[in-house]
Amino acid sequence: MVRLIAKSPSEGILPFEVNGLTLVELDVGPITSVAPFDGQAVAASDRLRALAGMELPKPNRSSGREGARAVWSGAGQAMVLGVAVDAAMRQHAALTDQSDAWAVFRLEGQGVEDVLARLTPLDLNPGVFKRGHVARSLLGHMSALFLRVSGEAFEIMVFRSMARTAVHEIEVAMKAVAARKALA
């Protein structure tokens, strides 16, 4: 029997590189939103720790590491990336499969903040927004999630349907930054 072939959100348009900066699409595996029910936040966090060795992150923070990470994604909500969340957590939290809802990018290179300064109103100054920090905010006019994974790299999540726009806008910003550098 024919099988359904999976397509990634940015298939065919990524990766690319502009003047030392790279934008790639990440396959982070399963993504599950975890929203603990009233009074269940601690229990849900404990359950996640038992399951994947990480807690439910506090606001604007992440936990875990690449491959098995939890990122705070809004009021009373986190997204667990890379590990399947045990259905037994259901008694503590609303679990919703979001594995296909997001396009996840990694933008990396020297001056990555200069590119993002053209796209988001967040203060991503390394002294303010450190490794492991997370923010829900805007990328252009799109809702987005930003995670700093290193001094020169961010993971950026946008809704799947807007992946093309996001990639285009990041690309334009990368080129403008490169053109400025060439001028200097």
Binding site: M1, V2, R3, L4, I5, A6, K7, S8, P9, S33, A35, F37, D38, G76, Q77, A93, A94, L95, T96, D97, Q98, S99, D100, A101, W102, A117, R118, T120, P121, L122, D123, N125, G127, V128, G140, H141, M142, F159, R160, S161, M162, R164, T165, A166, E169, V172, A173, K175, A176, A178, A179, R180, A182, L183
Partner: protein
């Protein structure tokens, strides 16, 4: 004329450019104005009203006269200040606001009749005959008015916007700003130093002045090195801070690529949104022109500008220079010029006790009372010791003292305060929260004072941030303040200009006062004083003083002056950057987008999404042919359509059912697991907000669907209801619109099609009408809902979005083998109209549940959002226009949506208006047009004939009122 060895230009790099077709040579570092002056060009523009010849007045962004068109074709920029535009190779500039060549502007005929063109003359005439305003007067006025011209073509250049964040923003890099930035950085703050011009240093680059025993420019270099060394200062040159907004937000315009021939990716300008926790305003001061008879000729410029051209560009604007001043500052111009061997023919100082600083003729207590030279100054007439005297001169530098550049402090409604000591306005205290003015912009005019205030202001900002205060040594510098005595108007024969760009003279101000326009705002609006491109930077204070004099009041009691953002004009392309073309809003693509395009479907916007309009097949030449075929195909076999754009919200929790009961009019707590129910949602004001189906997947797990259009609004509404009304409910919800690709499979063969793909076949038992459940489709876990928006036996199948493209292609291919295929929005719309299903064409935001015949869906057993307000008398009853169906009477070519309904014998006027048509379609199923609409007391008029009138499309026809459900009213097909 260029003075060798002077200026900060790079004499090694020659640059060729053109002005009005004439080729010239300048140097790197020149502005267009300095390069033209160096080439002896003095006539640079024409004034707004009288079209008088004008030359350059200033050396900065406040320039009112030397406005030009720069660039060619679509890239042309009008109203460019020649004083700001840096020259680059190939720069092409043209003079503007002229009819014919610049030197022989035909519209200068206006200058012959100034008395007939006095302030506000146009309010008093051009009224007869009435129709002549649009046909004659206005077109003539419009053509004569305006300044530069837009190309009328799409902007071809890249502009960008960006955000920046800092602890302390320092605006201006003169002595005040440099010391503020250094203090702030040494105090541990992250600093942005914004400088309007290409070089840091401000006025220090335009003066011959020492700091700490070094030439000013050298001292600047040292401070810049120290700033860089801190690693905390972001130096932004060519960046003008344009506005102060709430909570430390500032707008700033950076000229990124206007001074070079850059690549296409290089932005011309960048509009910055800077968030600064604290800011120091060190914007300096602008020199005040003097109002004396015929003070507008090319060659008359600001005394400080003469110094700027000399020291920054090595340019002198004349061979025989005179000065007219009220203060010591202007004498520096004479001294500096003489040091370069320039002939200074005299300094006219209105102060009787003025002292000369050098060996030049001084006319203390004198005034300039006239000038000569049509296209360039040739002579001035002065009155000195009661006698008149003529002096030959080709450049007159004038100085009426200084006005603090306090504009930013007005942006949050701060009103400047009159300071008698400096006879000028200074910023109101704490006019902008977190912004500390320092130096000349608050009236401190000595260099020593500026240096000290820069330090103080930065310390104040550091203190507010809770930072440490560094030990700072104040450099040694001059403490001269350039003592000035105001002179607001020199009496004499001839007009004295105030607002050069708008051609406002002292007489206009007096006329306004004479006609009762005595408040400052009235005067400005009546005379257009201060409304020109310089926004009154050069003239507002002078005009206010003359108004005060004309009304017999002191300046402070006459009023104050204010400024609104932006400080300098900002390109629309800069603030609107990113939006040109597709960038205005994100584009959302369904997973089936490429497959639809592959099949030739025209994709049309649906909110942010794109959806296929129809799928043309060979031989079909119109959309109607495709649409009719898609409808027939679907109703007879099977059709497939992507419905992923509908909002999908996953709702979980012990109180999920109670929550849904509260947001929907009807009950969802009674819905059985594995079932779907139609739901109606009201706004709290009782009108219909949205509708959709909600499925119960588990005891405490639902998935709600919304319309495509209202998905975002509904999500926000649910958040509001839960957080602000019912935080007691233990419920969680999240959008899953993006997670699932969802396709409707519609028609009598829909189950057959699905059973070819599902891993376990379904039947009417396992999936009855309004049933739902998990399925496995080609090995992928999905969900199946038996719901219909067409009246047919239909399903919606959902799979994780990564499989959307593949599943859609499979579904369409399989449908085609069954005699069906893909259908688009047009066919979807026809089928839902045939079945009488509503969309936002019907529930347009003014419609109530009563109007759509669903008032019985408002459960009496419970409270819900909108229920109380829907009971108002205005929202129900016979006066309301209610949903009906329409079908043609006799041979009717077409019905049109947007038409209104009348009794057949009534005139189609407002008072007879009974309703309107919301949706129409040609029904291939029925073979004629059908429509949905709203008619007063409609349901009681089924069978009546009314008149449909569409004035706009020329349609007038009779239609019969019928049920909105045109096909299968019993719903047999749905359950088949």
């Amino acid at each position: 004329m260029r003075i060798e060895g002077k200026g900060r230009i790079d004499a090694a790099e020659q640059i060729r450019f053109s002005f009005d077709g004439q080729r010239y040579t300048g140097f790197k570092g020149d502005t267009l104005a300095s390069a033209l002056l160096a080439n002896g060009v003095r006539l640079m523009g024409r004034s707004f009203k009288y079209h008088r010849p004008r030359g350059v007045l200033t050396a900065g962004a406040e320039e009112p006269n030397a406005l030009m068109e720069v660039g060619r074709g679509a890239a042309k920029v009008p109203n460019v200040r020649a004083t700001v535009q840096e020259v680059y190779a190939g720069l092409e500039a043209h003079s503007q606001n002229r009819m014919g060549p610049l030197a022989y502007d035909l519209l200068s005929v206006n200058d012959l009749f100034p008395n007939f063109l006095s302030a506000g003359f146009y309010y008093k005439t051009f009224m007869w005959p009435r129709a002549f305003w649009e046909r004659l007067y206005e077109p003539v006025i419009r053509r004569a008015a305006g300044l530069g011209a837009l190309s009328g073509r799409h902007n071809p250049d890249h502009y960008e916007k960006a955000f920046a964040h800092c602890d302390i923003l320092v605006i201006g890099s003169g002595p005040t700003g440099l010391m503020a930035a250094l203090t702030a950085a040494l105090g541990g703050a992250d600093v942005i130093l914004a400088e309007e011009t290409n070089e840091f240093g401000g006025r220090l680059l335009s003066e011959d002045e020492e700091i700490d025993g070094q030439p000013g420019a050298d001292w600047v270099g040292g401070i810049l090195a120290a700033l860089r060394e801190t690693g905390r200062v972001r130096l932004m040159s060519r960046t003008t801070v344009t506005g102060a907004y709430d909570q430390g937000t500032y707008g700033a315009l950076e000229r990124v690529g206007l001074h070079v021939n850059g690549p296409a990716e290089l932005p011309k300008e960048c509009f910055w949104r800077i968030h600064a926790r604290q800011a120091v305003l060190a914007a300096g001061a602008l020199e005040r022109p003097l109002a004396f008879p015929m003070n507008d000729r090319p060659g008359i410029m600001m005394a400080s500008a003469v110094r700027s051209y000399l020291h920054r560009y090595g340019v002198v604007a004349g061979r025989k220079v005179t000065l007219f001043a009220t203060n010591d500052d202007a004498h520096r111009t004479a001294v500096d010029l003489m040091a370069c061997g320039i002939d200074v023919a005299g300094v006219v100082d209105s102060r009787p006790d003025a002292k000369a600083l050098g060996d030049y003729p001084l006319y203390a207590g004198g005034e300039v009372i006239g000038t000569k030279g049509r296209k360039a100054l040739s002579e001035i007439t002065i009155r000195h010791n009661g006698a008149e005297q003529k002096i030959a001169t080709d450049c007159l530098g004038m100085s009426g003292g200084w006005n603090p550049t306090l504009h930013m402090t007005c942006h949050m409604n701060g009103r400047p305060v009159w300071n008698e000591e400096i006879t000028g306005f200074v910023p109101a205290p704490d006019a902008v929260p977190g912004l500390t003015p320092a130096g000349a912009c608050q009236g401190t005019y000595s260099t020593a004072g500026c240096l000290a205030e820069g330090v103080e202001a930065a310390k104040r900002a550091l203190t507010a941030l809770g930072g440490k205060l560094p030990e700072m040594e104040i450099p040694q510098a001059s403490d001269a303040v350039g003592g000035s005595k105001p002179l607001w108007l020199v009496k004499g024969k001839g007009r004295a200009w105030l607002d050069f760009a708008n051609d406002v003279t002292s007489k206009d101000i007096k006329l306004a006062a004479q006609e009762a326009f005595t408040s400052v705002e009235h005067m400005k609006r009546y005379t257009t004083q201060g409304m020109a491109p310089d926004q009154g930077k050069n003239s507002n204070i002078g005009a206010l003083a003359i108004l005060a004099d004309a009304t017999g009041r002191a300046i402070p009691e006459t009023g104050t002056t204010t400024y609104r953002p932006p400080y300098v004009p900002v390109s629309i392309a800069a603030i609107g950057a990113g939006a040109q073309g597709q960038g205005f809003a994100p584009e959302r693509f369904t997973t089936s987008h490429d497959a639809s395009v592959d099949r030739g479907a025209p994709m049309v916007p649906a909110g942010l999404w794109y959806r296929p309009s129809y799928f043309p097949r060979p031989g079909e030449t119109t959309w109607r042919q495709a649409c009719d075929r898609e409808v027939t195909m679907t109703r007879n076999a099977v059709g497939v359509c992507d419905v992923s754009t509908l909002g999908k919200i996953d709702i979980q929790g012990p109180d999920a059912a109670a929550f849904l009961d509260f947001v929907y009019t009807n009950m969802f707590s009674t819905l059985k697991v594995g079932k779907v129910r139609y739901g109606l949602m009201l706004r709290e004001d009782g009108h219909v907000m949205d509708d959709g189906t909600t499925a119960r997947l588990g005891e405490s797990h639902y998935v709600m669907t919304t319309t495509t259009a209202a998905a975002g609004e509904v999500m926000k509404h649910l958040d509001f209801v839960q957080q602000c009304h019912r935080p007691d409910l233990n419920v969680r919800f999240i959008s899953v619109t993006e997670q699932w690709a969802q396709f409707s499979v519609v028609g009598p063969k829909s189950r057959e099609l699905l059973n070819g793909l599902l891993d376990a076949p379904i039947d009417n038992e396992s999936f009855p009408y309004m049933g739902c459940g998990d399925v496995s489709v080609m090995g992928v876990q999905g969900r199946l809902f038996r719901i219909s928006f067409s009246g047919e036996h239909a399903y919606e199948i959902a799979v994780p979005a990564r499989y959307g493209d593949a599943l859609y292609r499979q579904l369409v291919t399989q449908a085609e083998t069954l005699g069906g295929g893909a259908y688009g929005m047009e066919a979807l719309n026809v089928m839902r109209i045939e079945k009488g299903f509503i969309t936002h064409s019907e529930i347009d935001g003014r419609v109530t549940c009563f109007d759509i015949g669903m008032d019985r869906m408002v459960s009496a057993k419970k409270m819900c959002v909108g229920k109380p307000a829907a009971q108002r008398e205005g929202l129900k009853g016979k006066h309301r226009q209610q949903l009906i169906g329409l079908k043609p009477v006799g041979a009717v070519k077409e019905l049109t949506a947007g038409a209104h309904l009348f009794e057949t014998d009534a005139a189609p006027t407002r008072v007879n208006d009974l309703g309107y048509v919301t949706s129409v379609a040609f029904s291939p199923t029925l073979g004629h047009f059908i429509g949905l609409g709203f008619l007063q007391d409609g349901p009681n008029r089924v069978g009546d004939v009314v008149k449909l009138v569409d004035h706009l499309r020329g349609v007038e026809t009779r239609v019969e009122i019928c049920s909105p459900v045109f096909i299968d009213p019993e719903g047999e097909r749905l359950r088949g």
